[in-house]
Structures are given as structure tokens and as C-alpha cells.
């Protein structure tokens, strides 16, 4: 067993050696003055490889290019909370200048985002917030109420305000999913929906295959189902695919979120009557602009503060945004009203993103 003792000694020596190396202070990053630039921005989506987040990143890159900042995208490949925490840990150690995050969980990401803030790295949440205490601000793509009510009323319209409907959501923990769902339910309480019955809410974990299977499950379980609301840009096309494969086009109607390029065929063939989305490139653009302004110190996230963008967006033609107070009492930046896509405008937007 001598060898294990020798090995122990070696391990200790190794740590000692790394201590010596550690003595040298970090060059470059620490001395970089605030207010100057260019800055390094870490862009952390919920996960990798999804068209929605890819298009957000496109917008972010546009803003970074405008300022001459360096931006890079890192995210968990399994869309998990722990994976995202690990990613944030590593970008903190890299001493990036700002972090933009679409949080997989509002609370679980808070400790590590707080750590980043304490290390002097501003955290800007976009798409899905982290707790107010752990962020500078949150770029909200659309008010939860507007989206939730919008989806429910679109559903009512296409089904003629009667019949059984179901919701296909992403994950039960994601804060945006929960809030949208609660606003959908709130809208359904209105007397004009008295013949509409929400029979089930199922979760596809934002994975295409699982969402597809869940949609098939809904079709099987509720033969009289008249509509499905897809609460994410993965759920909606998956539901459309299920409806198309079962030959129910026209009988079972789909509304929800979607990305024009992936939804184009379903809209044109009539599976999906209508879907909503904010301009994802604008979302990335606004968030990355704010990240840059946080680095320079021009933006601190106080209520009433305004920010001027380099170009107009779909929601704000003058390109000026203001920090407002959200439904939960926390300050945030609202991107603007969502767009409605249907047969009339789908082809134009599908070519864009």
C-alpha cells in the first residue's frame, strides 16, 4: 500500500505546483477599464441547436457587431438547470464582461447569477427571467398577460368558441410557460368561452419527438378534441405534425407559438390557423444592446430609465425602450406586442427567419 501513499504525496505536490502557477495575477481582463471596450459578452440560451434560440443569437450578434464587442454562445446540450449552472460558472471564471441568459429555472439559476453579479459581471435575462435579485434587468419578449390572452382568444376564434381544447406546453417548471398557461386559463374564464373546455395540459419538455408523442396521446385520449394550443415554438409544429399525420387537418385546429420558417407549410396547408411570435431577432438585439450598455455603465436597470437602440424594432419603431414595472412588481424591459402570423403574411416572414 506504499504506492497509494506515494500517490497521495504526488497529488499534494501537484496542487502545490498549481499554487505556484496561481500566484501570477490574471493579465488583461482585470485591468480592462470600465467604460471602454470592446467587451466580451457571454450569450447563454436555454439549450443549443434550437431554431428559436439560434435566431435570438442572430439578433444579439448584430448588436455586438455594432459595438465591436465579442460575443459567443454557450449553453447546456441537455437543456438542464445543472448544465446551465456549469456554463455560467465557466463564463464567470473566464471573466467575461456581461452575461445574457434565458434561464431554465428562475430560482435555481439565481445563486450562480448572483455570484456573477458579485464578481462584477452584469447579468441580463432575456426570454426567461432569473430572480430580480440576480439580474440587472429582464428583457421580456411580451407581457405574459398579452400572450396568454392572445393565444386563448385566437383559439376561441378558430374553433368558434366551442369544443374541447388542450394545451401542449414545454416544461412545468419554466417560469414563462407557467405564467402563459395561467393567463390562458384566466382568459378562458370569460363567459364567451363557456362552451370551451380545457381538458388537459401536457408537457413535451421542448423536445420535438416527445411533444409529438404527447400530441398523439391527446388525439387518442380525447376523440372530440377541437383544438390544441402549443405553448412553445417546439410544441406547436410538433402538434401540427401529429395532426397532419393523423389526417385531421381542419377538424383539429392548432394555434400557438411558432417560428415562421418551420410553420410555413403547416399554415399554408391549413393545419395551423394562426400563430403568435415576437421578433426573436429583435429580442436578441435588444438584450445584447443592454448588455453592452451595462458594461459601459450607461444602463443600471432602474425603473424609468430609457435606452436608445441602434435601429428600430418591430415593437418600437423609434428604437427607444423604457424600463417599466412588470406584473410581479419587478422592473423589466418589454419588447412590444407579439405579431400574429397567418396565411396572409407567413411567406414574407418565413423568408426572414
Amino acid at each position: 500500500m506504499k504506492k497509494s501513499i506515494v500517490l497521495c504525496v504526488c497529488v499534494v505536490l501537484l496542487f502545490g505546483a498549481s499554487l505556484l502557477f496561481a500566484g501570477t495575477p490574471p493579465k488583461g481582463e482585470a485591468t480592462k477599464a470600465k467604460g471602454g471596450g470592446p467587451f466580451t459578452l457571454a450569450w447563454v440560451p436555454k439549450g443549443l441547436g434550437h431554431p428559436y434560440f439560434i435566431s435570438c443569437y442572430e439578433g444579439a450578434k448584430e448588436a455586438a457587431k455594432e459595438f465591436g464587442d465579442k460575443i459567443f454562445e454557450v449553453g447546456p446540450d441537455d437543456w438542464s438547470v445543472e448544465g446551465q449552472i456549469t456554463v455560467i460558472e465557466s463564463v464567470i471564471d473566464q471573466k467575461v464582461n456581461a452575461i445574457g441568459i434565458a434561464a431554465n429555472d428562475m430560482d435555481a439559476l439565481a445563486p450562480v447569477c448572483k455570484k456573477a453579479m458579485e464578481a462584477g459581471i452584469p447579468v441580463v435575462a432575456w426570454d426567461a427571467a432569473v430572480n430580480q435579485s440576480a439580474r440587472v434587468t429582464f428583457v421580456n419578449q411580451a407581457s405574459f398577460e398579452g400572450i396568454g390572452r392572445g393565444l386563448a382568444s385566437a383559439m376561441g376564434e378558430v374553433t368558434g368558441y366551442k369544443g374541447e381544447i388542450a394545451v401542449l406546453s414545454a416544461t412545468p417548471q419554466a417560469p414563462n410557460q407557467r405564467k402563459w398557461l395561467s393567463w390562458v386559463m384566466e382568459e378562458l374564464k370569460d363567459p364567451k368561452y363557456k362552451d370551451v373546455k380545457l381538458v388537459d395540459v401536457v408537457y413535451g419538455d421542448d423536445m420535438t419527438e416527445k411533444s409529438y408523442d404527447k400530441a398523439l396521446g391527446l388525439i387518442k385520449a380525447y376523440p372530440n378534441l377541437k383544438g390544441i394550443i402549443g405553448l412553445s415554438a417546439v410544441a406547436t409544429p410538433a402538434a401540427c405534425a401529429a395532426v397532419t399525420d393523423k389526417g385531421l387537418i381542419g377538424e383539429l385546429k392548432i394555434v400557438g407559438f411558432g417560428i415562421p420558417s418551420t410553420m410555413k407549410d403547416y399554415v399554408l396547408e391549413g393545419t395551423c390557423q394562426k400563430f403568435l411570435l415576437w421578433n426573436t431577432m429583435d429580442l436578441g438585439y435588444v438584450a445584447a444592446t443592454i448588455m453592452h450598455k451595462c458594461c459601459t455603465g450607461e444602463f443600471t436597470g432602474k425603473v424609468g430609465e430609457t435606452i436608445k437602440l441602434g435601429r428600430p424594432t418591430m415593437g418600437e419603431p423609434d428604437g427607444v425602450y423604457e424600463v417599466t414595472v412588470g406584473e410581479d412588481g419587478d422592473p423589466y424591459v418589454l419588447l412590444g406586442p407579439p405579431m400574429e402570423f397567418d396565411k396572409s403574411n407567413i411567406e414574407k416572414w418565413a423568408a426572414i427567419f
Binding site: V11, V74, T86, D93, K114
Partner: protein, 333 residues
């Protein structure tokens, strides 16, 4: 193996060089050196300790898992036990229990889950991989039933210190726990009678039985210990992310088994050492950290880890083939 012992007396150093522990220790050094070259500024001691936070929960689980595998049993339900322990801790806290008691209950849940696995494996004589596959689904399900779609938030601040997360201690508490446990498990396996029995049981179950070793009792104890540590791992993770959730620790069982195998634990039992496992845990952890600090995407890191395991498993086979062929050629000429 008297023959081997004789050899060791003659050439201790040469013998040591041939050991598996030495091979992966060299790999660990290589990982450090490569990391120092690739990111000299970032690979600093504060960061090194900080980085342990992302893999300590898995690392502490490799210790009992190594013992378990050496004894010829495997438990793939550990990640689910972790999640269940964390969830039950959260539920107890939400019900108004003091966080200290809730933690003890979380540990107790882990211990009983492990013992339940052990009882089923030893009494019903069902292969452990089958039993724990079923229990993996069962325990995960319990977590989801208890918390459903929600998570317990707002766990107290001081509980967060346990996970070492962002505390002011230079060496995270988690990592100290890992080192302490490594010493305890190392002592248990390599220095006690119980440790020797573990090897005997894993080497040949039947022989052990006929020589009067209480095989089932040893395995039952090890299952219980594994469950207990799995519970501890879940509690540390819950503490680190500051909320109890049913979906934590997904896939940890595979990460833990990977580390054990890389550390030289023989999958069919009877072989392995704690020091090997500890080195493997550090190596995998720092490979992951080093790559993620270079912003290598997670998918690529996975390929890397898989490749490392394959290479590690191939080295002894290739080496023995090489040796055999050399011997053969010498004998032939």
C-alpha cells in the same frame, strides 16, 4: 497472490509504474499541463477549487459505488435517490420543519432507499442491475409525485453554505467532505478486514460463501451506504442550486460509473482502489472544466469523456496483448 507480492518486494518502483493508478495519475497530470498551456490565466488555484463545485456531488458518489462494484453489485438508481432525498428535504422544510432535521430526514431517506435496493437484491436474488433499473424509475417517480410541477424555493441561506456554493470558504465545504469521505472509504477498503472481505466477495461469490463469508450482509451494508451517500449527494446539489427539484442529478449514475471504471474498478467485481477512483474523479472533473472554460460545446465534451473512457479501457488490453506477443515472439525464436 504470493507471486505478485514477491515481485513487489524486489522491484517496488517498477511495479508501481505498471499500476493502473499510475497510468491515470499521469493522465491527470497531462490534463493539468494541457489546461495550464491552453488557459494559463484562468487555471488558477481559486478557480480550481471553485471548479470542484460542479463535480463534487458526483465525485463523492463514486466512493461507495466503487466499493459496491468491487463487491460484485451495481446500483444505477443512485441519481434518482439523490433527487428523491433532495425533494423530501424540500417537502419537509416546506411543511415547517427546521432545515437541520429536514437534512437528517433527507439522509435517512437515502439510506433506506439504498437498504431497500440491498434487501431486494440479496433476498430475491435478482441481478442488481435489473433491480436498480426498476428502482431508478421508482425513486424518480416518487420525487415527481411529491413535488409534481413545482420546486421548493427559498431554502434558507445557511443551508446554501453546505453546498459550498459561493461561500466565503476558500476550499468549498463540499470538497472537504469529498476528501474526508475518500480517506474514510480508502481506509475501510484497504486497511480493514471488512475491506478485504469486499474483494473476496467480488472475486468469487461462491468461494466466499463456502468459506463462511456473509456475502449478502456485506452487500446489503454496501447498498445502504451507497444510498446514504446518494442522499448526501442530492442534498449537496439541492443546497448548491438553492431549491429542491425532482429533475436534478439526471444522468449522474452513468457519470459515476464512468469515473469508477476509469479509476480502475473492474466492472465484474474484485478489483479496484479508492485512490484510482479519486484520481479519475478529479481528472474527469478538470477535463470538463478545462474544456468548458475554452467554451467547447457540451456535446463535444461528452464525446471527449466517452473517448477517454474507451482509451482508458483499451490501454490494459492493448498492453497485455503487446506483452503476450512479445513473449510469444521470444519464445518462438
Amino acid at each position: 497472490m504470493p507471486n505478485e507480492r514477491e515481485k513487489k518486494k524486489r522491484l517496488p518502483l517498477a511495479d508501481m509504474l505498471k499500476t493502473w493508478e499510475f497510468t491515470i495519475f499521469m493522465l491527470l497530470i497531462a490534463v493539468f499541463v494541457i489546461n495550464l498551456i491552453l488557459s494559463p490565466d484562468l487555471f488558477r488555484v481559486a478557480n480550481l477549487f471553485d471548479a470542484t463545485l460542479t463535480f463534487t456531488e458526483k465525485s463523492i458518489l463514486t466512493l461507495p459505488m466503487a466499493l459496491l462494484i468491487i463487491s460484485g453489485v451495481i446500483d444505477i438508481s443512485v441519481a434518482s435517490i439523490s433527487a428523491m432525498s433532495g425533494v423530501i428535504l424540500g417537502v419537509c422544510y416546506k411543511a415547517g420543519m427546521a432545515i437541520g432535521y429536514a437534512t437528517v430526514i433527507g439522509l435517512a431517506v437515502g439510506l433506506s432507499a439504498g437498504l431497500l435496493n440491498g434487501v431486494i437484491i440479496t433476498r430475491l436474488k435478482i441481478p442488481s442491475i435489473v433491480v436498480t433499473l426498476a428502482m431508478m424509475l421508482f425513486y424518480r417517480g416518487v420525487g415527481y409525485i411529491l413535488l409534481g410541477d413545482t420546486a421548493v424555493r427559498d431554502l434558507p441561506q445557511r443551508f446554501g453554505l453546505l453546498g459550498g456554493a459561493y461561500s466565503s470558504t476558500f476550499i468549498p465545504i463540499q470538497f472537504m467532505i469529498f476528501i474526508l469521505l475518500a480517506v474514510i472509504f480508502g481506509f475501510l477498503l484497504h486497511r480493514t478486514r471488512f475491506g478485504r472481505l469486499i474483494y473476496i466477495v467480488g472475486n468469487n461469490e461462491n468461494t466466499a460463501r463456502y468459506s463462511g463469508v456473509r456475502v449478502d450482509r456485506i452487500r446489503l451494508i454496501l447498498c445502504g451506504v451507497t444510498g446514504l451517500i446518494a442522499g448526501l449527494s442530492g442534498i449537496l446539489l439541492t443546497s448548491r442550486i438553492g431549491s429542491a427539484r425532482p429533475d436534478i442529478a439526471q444522468g449522474n449514475e452513468m457519470a459515476v460509473i464512468t469515473i469508477c471504471l476509469l479509476g480502475g474498478v473492474y466492472i465484474f467485481g474484485g478489483k479496484g482502489s479508492i485512490i484510482g477512483v479519486v484520481i479519475a474523479a478529479l481528472m474527469i472533473g478538470y477535463v470538463h472544466y478545462g474544456l468548458s472554460i475554452l467554451n467547447v460545446q457540451e456535446q463535444v465534451i461528452r464525446i471527449f469523456t466517452g473517448g477517454l473512457l474507451i482509451i482508458a479501457l483499451l490501454i490494459p488490453t492493448i498492453a497485455s496483448r503487446f506483452r503476450a506477443s512479445v513473449k510469444h515472439r521470444r519464445g518462438g525464436s
